[in-house]
Symmetry: C2
DNA sequence: CGCGGCGTTGAACACGGTCAATTCTTGTGG
DNA sequence: CCACAAGAATTGACCGTGTTCAACGCCGCG
């Protein structure tokens, strides 16, 4: 992991459109605490496939995803691999106030993260009720996402899971773009940064069945597969329908 | 819902071995806040199958399960039903600081709950950083459970899910009993309060395959089915093995 | 005593997993 | 820029697991 220290590194990274949770966390801090908070964050670059945290490890750092994609991974004794959650730009991780990791964290792509010493981070939150409240809210969101995913995985059929997955990605994308897709516009296009195998591990399926599901959606005209990593969503309504509303409604 | 007001009702219910999260929450409050907190809790009795909260509803109350069992349920448009989580004695629910419910909450058995006005509850936590910290910790636990369940559901095979489910129940029971099973003792015996159909909905399977899985475990000598609701766990090691370590370790 | 739920069991079939072969993509070196 | 090799994705055949639909047994209740 390449490491860059200092608050200017932070300023650079935080200047991203990401901003999100971390920046909001800063904003509610009183000036002196805020300075302390800014000082503890370091910028790091993580190469694809690197492991950030090992399973069972006691958390020493808090992390914030600036750009890229991380996964919480659990290895099964029989060698299978399971992705129990994704960490996308704007997400915090690191089990603040909590016990050791029950899973490994690996980088699915080259990733920029900000990290901070965990105990210092906790220390600061302990001095600002308001900041800790904000942190609590992020945990509540994570909880909702996890429950949503329980929903999706419980639902069975791979095509359904896949449809849900695509819609969730789409939801992220829409949120980034800060606008609805204009109609008539070249249909909503997704760029997957993940291999089929990885997606399959996330969906609790094999690459083969994932591929079949993907091409089934294509046959049915719901999506178009331009390249394995470039997919157009042609019919959101249809996707929602095949997802079987496994999604806990919330935003579009 | 039968309702009983007043702090003596609470005292009665809180006298239970449950105590747990709520009592701890009380303990960290300064006397005046603590009195305020005690005053807002009411005892209620909920009949089996009753709905406590409708999906999409804005939360008005915070709840605490004293005795019985609740489930977070999501109905699919095609009529299927999905249980995304259970609430057991000692659990808090009610989306404090959060948006509307994305699921329904129903009573799987007759249940005793304590409830409090949500805004008052939040108000009090807002005045006690320490109490809110405690609340944060409960949310973090919930998050771990949800992730654990993602793990289990992603893992496929119904027998595996079932084994995991039994072990989780067993974990609860051991925690209540506050002791390890003495060896030689009549093997660890579980009383299920749930119908096969309900369990199946939780495991993301049908009653039929659940039944088959159950009897397969029995054939293999891992459990004994005394009555449909009374099951002995004969071989914990074997169960752990067939669960395939889908469980994020933590305690036994 | 008969009805109605629920759990269990059986048979047929669909879906997803496995193994193996084939085609695409992509990155590298000529 | 093209050829080639390695790794991915896809496709096909086959099989195990789970679902579906239907029937049966058990039990509690009217």
């Amino acid at each position: 992991m390449t490491e860059v220290q200092g608050s200017d590194a932070f300023a650079r990274a935080a200047g991203q459109p990401v901003g999100g949770k971390l920046e909001r966390l800063f904003k509610v801090l009183k000036p002196d605490l805020r300075r302390a908070m800014e000082r503890i964050w370091h910028h790091e670059t993580v190469a694809e496939d690197a492991t950030l945290v090992e399973e069972g490890e006691e958390a020493r750092k808090i992390g914030y995803v600036v750009d890229g994609l991380l996964a919480m991974v659990k290895e099964l004794p029989d060698g299978r691999r399971h992705i129990i959650g994704l960490l996308t730009p704007g997400d915090l991780f690191g089990r603040a106030f909590n016990g050791p990791f029950g899973y490994r964290i690996v980088a699915l792509t080259d990733t920029d993260v900000m990290t901070a010493d965990r105990s210092k981070f906790e220390e600061i939150l302990s001095q600002s009720h308001e900041a800790e409240r904000l942190f609590l809210l992020t945990v509540l969101d994570e909880l909702d996402s996890a429950r949503e995913w329980v929903m999706v995985l419980g639902g069975a059929k791979v095509v359904e899971r896949l449809a849900s997955f695509l819609l969730i990605l789409c939801r992220h994308k829409l949120r980034e773009d800060c606008r609805m897709p204009r109609r008539g516009e070249p249909p909503l296009s997704l760029h997957l940064h993940l291999s089929r195998t990885t997606i399959a591990q996330y969906l609790g399926a094999t690459p083969e069945s994932l591929s079949r599901a993907l091409h089934k959606l294509a046959r049915d005209g719901l999506i178009r597969i331009n390249t394995p990593y470039q997919i157009d969503l042609l019919d959101l309504g249809g996707l929602v329908e095949t997802a079987g509303s496994a999604l806990l409604v919330r935003d579009l």
